[in-house]
Symmetry: C2
Subunit: 288 residues, 2 copies
């Protein structure tokens, strides 16, 4: 049996670690770290994700402001809100929960967040930091979660062949770039790739972030590989809603050395990674 890369376990350790650190800061007289979440409209998924974030935040002793705006809000009203959060010294991180209603200009809103509080790592300045491998930029939470998982299990990336499947700006591209910066030889595969298995079979580590169930099956993998599944697809199984990844877990787990399951892999880690971003921004702010 392969090593199961246990996101729940790492998540729980990060939660404990952040709780302790925040408690120490509070004892030293500092304020709580605070994340502001802007939600526009009532997408069911968004509400659920925000509830997770609130719960995690409260458990570690952080403040979570939930700014819930109606579907009918205008760009300029949201911009006013962002501007006030940008200058509010008690707020350390700001995220705009995606997806947004169609009439809202996502790029303009995202770019309006001051980079030092952009804990989703989406502003031009943070992308440039990742691009140039500067110190101190903020890496998107999912990419950070993947690096944390590899690091936790002492899976070296420098000098390794990594195949990233997916070229999204939220996961595929930042993960690929962060791994290139860390010395991995990275191949980015995507919907335009001919014969995906030709690439994945050559890899030491496969990271799949597409959202297509069973994309990575037994023909795509070989022994000794590490598989990180970042796919998220909601399926109905006998009327019960379930979440599934990109990897045919039953088939692939018979073959490879290590694998992250869905659910219970990268998913639980994204929320803790987000709060690590918030905590880093907070530390900078309080000058620690």
């Amino acid at each position: 049996m392969p090593l199961i890369l246990d996101g729940k376990k790492i998540n729980s350790e990060i939660r404990q670690d952040l709780s302790t650190r925040i408690a120490i800061n509070l004892a030293d007289g500092f304020a709580k770290p605070c994340l502001a979440i802007i939600q526009i409209g009532n997408t069911k998924e968004s509400t659920k994700y925000i509830e997770h974030k609130k719960k995690f935040g409260h458990t570690i002793g952080a403040e979570v402001l939930h700014i819930h705006l109606p579907d009918t809000v205008s760009d300029s009203e949201v911009l006013k809100e962002i501007s006030s959060l940008n200058t509010d010294d008690s707020v350390h991180g700001i995220i705009i929960q995606l997806p947004l209603p169609k009439h809202i200009d996502r790029d303009v809103l995202v770019e309006a967040v001051i980079s030092s509080k952009d804990v989703d790592g989406l502003t031009s300045e943070n992308i440039r930091g990742l691009w140039t491998n500067d110190k101190g930029y903020i890496l998107p939470a999912t990419a950070r979660a993947i690096l944390t998982m590899l690091d936790y299990y002492d899976i070296q990336v420098s000098g390794k062949k990594v195949v990233v499947v997916g070229r999204s700006t939220l996961v595929g591209k930042p993960t690929a770039m962060a791994l290139i910066n860390k010395g991995a030889t990275v191949t980015v595969c995507h919907s335009g790739t001919v014969k995906l298995a030709d690439h994945t079979l050559e890899a030491d580590i496969i990271i799949s972030a597409v959202g297509f169930p069973r994309l990575i099956d037994e023909h795509c993998v070989r022994p000794h590989q590490v598989i990180i599944d970042v796919g998220t697809t909601f399926i109905k199984d006998e009327e019960v809603e379930k979440i599934t990844g990109d990897v045919d877990y039953n088939a692939v787990s018979q073959i490879v050395a290590a694998i992250s399951p869905v659910p219970g892999g990268v998913g639980p880690l994204t929320v803790s990674s987000l709060f690590q971003n918030v905590y880093d921004a907070y530390l900078k702010k309080i000058g620690k």
Copy 2:
């Protein structure tokens, strides 16, 4: 014998094309496109490159402002200069000739250039455009030169395996990202890559931008491949200064299907690509 990817020839066609277009715009009563080049200090190489750019610009009927500042200039004096060029309606492109003296903060200066005139494609906003594959961003000239060369010879990239050797922010990363956006499956190799040949032998197209002579030799290539050499190393050969690429041209050209030589390949195309960027910025400005 392989197809020689002739940068001089393409350069000459672009020069002719830009000359004609600019002449038409002048006849229509528009002003000349204008590139401002800021040089700090007296690096011999910089002076030479700037001379090339001036010559090309004048040949096509563009204006080239050469703003030559002494080695002792302060960041704030350069920033003042950039700010005045940013607001000058007669200037369509601004570049800061690299390398800069050590006391100058390169990042601050580069970022001070307004993105619409950043014809080197180095500001956060242009990097983000490339990252998110937006329309209208400015691609760094060398990456544009490589795409132009492939396009000129009808070498398809979509669905192809491309190995980019080098992860610089000026060439390797933007070239890789532009190719991913165009549907290529791209592997980024670099100094941390173990067994480079394992990767290059799998490629349809190899693009090398490292600056290490004979890095790509006969063991790295196979028949039917396309080789683009973006390496630039100055060597002395019997007291004569020569320029050489990353590819062992004599050995590799016996094997592959197509190859760009050094000199005479991507090099001559970078200046014409820069002026294509200037011309695009100019067109936007005059509303065409």
